[in-house]
C-alpha cells in the first residue's frame, strides 16, 4: 500500500522510513528543549523545536538522522533547531555511522530569531562539509509540503546525494518572497504549475540538481535512501571544477526569455528533452526513461 511521504509528519516519516522500531531519539520532546526566543514573543513553542534527531538503522546499517517538522514554523531553523542539527553532525564525525540522513522540510531561517537562525544555518553547512570530508555520506530527502528553501536549500546542495519526489520543491527564495519584491509579473506565486516547473522535483531531476526522483511514497524514499548509503562523493578540486563547468554552461545556454515558450521548458529542451511540453503530465517511471534517453544522446 502506498503512503504519501508529503502527508506524513516528521516522526511518521522516521517511523516508516527507517527499520521498524530502530529510531532512538536524542533530546526527545520529554526534555522540553524549546526556543526561548519564541517564548519571549509569546509564540507557541514545540518541545523538539521542530526537528527530531537520533540514530537508527536502515537496512541494518547504522545511520544518524534528522527530520524537520514542516507543520511547526514551516520547518524554520532557529537557534535550538540549528544546534540540534549541528550536534548530530558533530556526533556523526565522532561516532562514524554509515551515513547521515536529512529529512529536510524547511522554509529556511526562522525569521522570529533571524540572526541566530542565519548563523546556525551556516554552522550546519560547515558541519555537513566536515562530515563529508570524513567520508561519511550525508543524504537529503525532500518531499514535504513546505519544500526545502532558503538556507536549507543551500545546505541540501552541500550534501552528497539528494532524493526528491515529484511534489517536492527545492530552491532558495520562495515564490511569495520574489512576488512581493518584484511583482506578480516576475513570479506568480499562485500559479502552481509555474512554481513546480521552477522548483519542483521533475525540474531538479532533469537538471541534475537532485540525484534521484521518486514517487510521493514513504517506501520509495526508503528504497532510494538505502541505495544512497554508499553514495559518498568526496569534495575535491576536480569535483568542484566539474560542478563549475556544469553551472557555467547552464547559465550560458539558458535561452533568453520568450513569449512562445516557458523558461523552464526552453531550458529542458536545451538539456536535450525532445518533448518538453509533456513533462508536467508524465509519471516518475516515464521521467526515468526520459533522462536515460537524454543522457545517451549526450
Amino acid at each position: 500500500m502506498s503512503l504519501s511521504y508529503a502527508e506524513c509528519t516528521a516522526r511518521e516519516r522516521l517511523a516508516l522510513l527507517l527499520d521498524a522500531g530502530s529510531f532512538h531519539e536524542w533530546l526527545p520532546p520529554s526534555e522540553r528543549l524549546t526556543s526561548p526566543h519564541l517564548a519571549q514573543l509569546g509564540v507557541p513553542c514545540a518541545f523538539d523545536d521542530g526537528v527530531a534527531i537520533g540514530r537508527a538503522t536502515l537496512a541494518g546499517r547504522t545511520v544518524f538522522v534528522a527530520a524537520q517538522e514542516g507543520a511547526f514554523m514551516g520547518g524554520g531553523v532557529g537557534e535550538v533547531h540549528g544546534a540540534k542539527l549541528v550536534g548530530l553532525l558533530q556526533r556523526a564525525l565522532r561516532d562514524r555511522p554509515t551515513a547521515v540522513l536529512l529529512l529536510a522540510e524547511s522554509g529556511g531561517v526562522r525569521l522570529h530569531e533571524a540572526n541566530a537562525g542565519l548563523i546556525a544555518v551556516s554552522e550546519v553547512m560547515r558541519s555537513v562539509l566536515d562530515v563529508r570530508a570524513a567520508g561519511i555520506p550525508v543524504i537529503t530527502l525532500i518531499g514535504g509540503a513546505n519544500g526545502c528553501f532558503g538556507g536549507m536549500g543551500i545546505v541540501a546542495r552541500c550534501t552528497d546525494y539528494i532524493v526528491m519526489s515529484d511534489s517536492g520543491r527545492l530552491a532558495m527564495s520562495g515564490p511569495e518572497v520574489i512576488e512581493a519584491s518584484f511583482g506578480v509579473e516576475e513570479f506568480d506565486s499562485r500559479d502552481r504549475a509555474l512554481v513546480w516547473r521552477t522548483t519542483g522535483g521533475k525540474h531538479r531531476w532533469l537538471t541534475g540538481d537532485c540525484d534521484e526522483l521518486v514517487e510521493d511514497d514513504v517506501q520509495a524514499f526508503r528504497e532510494a535512501a538505502i541505495c544512497a548509503l554508499s553514495a559518498a562523493k568526496p569534495v575535491t578540486s576536480a569535483l568542484l571544477e566539474t560542478e563549475h563547468a556544469l553551472l557555467s554552461a547552464r547559465l550560458r545556454d539558458m535561452p533568453p526569455p520568450s513569449d512562445d515558450l516557458d523558461d523552464a521548458m526552453a531550458l529542458w529542451q536545451r538539456l536535450g528533452v525532445a518533448d518538453a511540453q509533456r513533462i508536467p503530465d508524465i509519471d516518475v517511471a516515464a521521467m526515468h526513461a526520459l533522462r536515460v534517453a537524454t543522457e545517451a544522446q549526450r
Binding site: 528543549l33 522570529h112 540572526n115 548563523i119 553547512m125 571544477e241 553551472l247 557555467s248
Partner: protein
C-alpha cells in the same frame, strides 16, 4: 566605507584591484605576502552569475597558488530575488561558492571575510559565514530582515520587536548583535592594517562561533545544545 578607500588604506594606492560590474577582484601585496581578494560592491544582489564569478577566483587560487590567503570583501543586499535565478538553481550556485571556500580552507588557505558595507542573509551565508573568520567594520550593517518587514512576516507588533531587540540580539539588525552572537569574530577599529594582520594570524580552521556566542552572551544555547547531543545516551 567605499571599497576603494578600504583597499587603499589596507594595501596602499597601487593596490591594483579591479571593479567589473559589482564584482571586485585583485591580487594584492600585504606585508610581503600575496593575497587573493574577492568581493562585491554597490550592495550587489548575488545571483548565479556573481556566485560563479567568485567561485572561479577561489578555484583558481586553490589550483595556482596553494596556501595563499583569501580575503572576501562583503557588500550585498542578499540573494537575487528572480524567478530565472531560481530556475537556474541559485541555491546550487550558492552552495558551490560555499564549497569552494570551504575546500580552500581545508587545503590550508586562510580565508577572512570582511563586511565593509552591508550584508544580508543569502548573500552572506556562503561567503563571510563560511570563512575561517568573518569580521566587520563598525559602521557595517548586517541583517536578515529589517524590523518592519519582520513584523509583517511574523505578524508581531513592530513596537514589541523593537523593544525586544534592545535586550535580545537575535531579533535586531546590527553588527554589534552579530559580534555578541559569535557570527562576527571582531570589528576592525583603528588601523585597518593592524586589524587584517591580526585576523590572518588568528585564523583557525575551527568553527568557534557557537562558543563565542555563549561567552559573549548573545547566543547562549547553541554550543550547549550541540554538546548535549554529543553527550546524550
Amino acid at each position: 566605507m567605499k571599497w576603494n578607500t578600504l583597499v587603499t588604506q589596507l594595501f596602499g594606492p597601487f593596490h591594483g584591484m579591479r571593479e567589473v560590474g559589482d564584482f571586485l577582484q585583485g591580487e594584492v601585496l600585504f606585508e610581503g605576502e600575496l593575497l587573493t581578494v574577492i568581493g562585491t560592491t554597490n550592495h550587489a544582489s548575488i545571483g548565479v552569475r556573481l556566485a560563479l564569478a567568485q567561485a572561479r577566483v577561489v578555484l583558481d587560487t586553490i589550483s595556482q597558488h596553494p596556501g595563499r590567503p583569501i580575503l572576501l570583501l562583503i557588500d550585498t543586499q542578499g540573494q537575487q530575488l528572480r524567478r530565472r535565478d531560481e530556475l537556474l538553481g541559485i541555491n546550487r550556485a550558492m552552495a558551490h561558492l560555499g564549497m569552494c571556500i570551504d575546500l580552500a580552507r581545508r587545503n590550508g588557505h586562510r580565508v577572512i571575510g570582511l563586511v565593509y558595507d552591508q550584508a544580508l542573509s543569502g548573500g552572506f551565508i556562503t561567503s563571510g559565514l563560511i570563512a575561517d573568520a568573518c569580521d566587520a567594520l563598525p559602521e557595517a550593517e548586517i541583517r536578515v530582515m529589517r524590523i518592519p518587514a519582520m513584523a509583517r512576516v511574523t505578524k508581531l507588533p513592530e513596537a514589541m520587536l523593537t523593544e525586544l531587540s534592545e535586550s535580545n540580539p537575535v531579533f535586531a539588525p546590527g553588527v554589534g548583535n552579530y559580534v555578541a552572537m559569535g557570527g562576527v569574530r571582531a570589528l576592525w577599529e583603528g588601523n585597518l592594517q593592524v586589524a587584517l594582520r591580526a585576523a590572518l594570524s588568528e585564523a583557525t580552521g575551527e568553527d568557534r562561533r557557537a562558543r563565542d556566542g555563549a561567552l559573549r552572551g548573545g547566543r547562549k544555547l547553541a554550543a550547549d545544545v550541540a554538546q548535549r547531543v554529543l553527550n546524550a545516551a
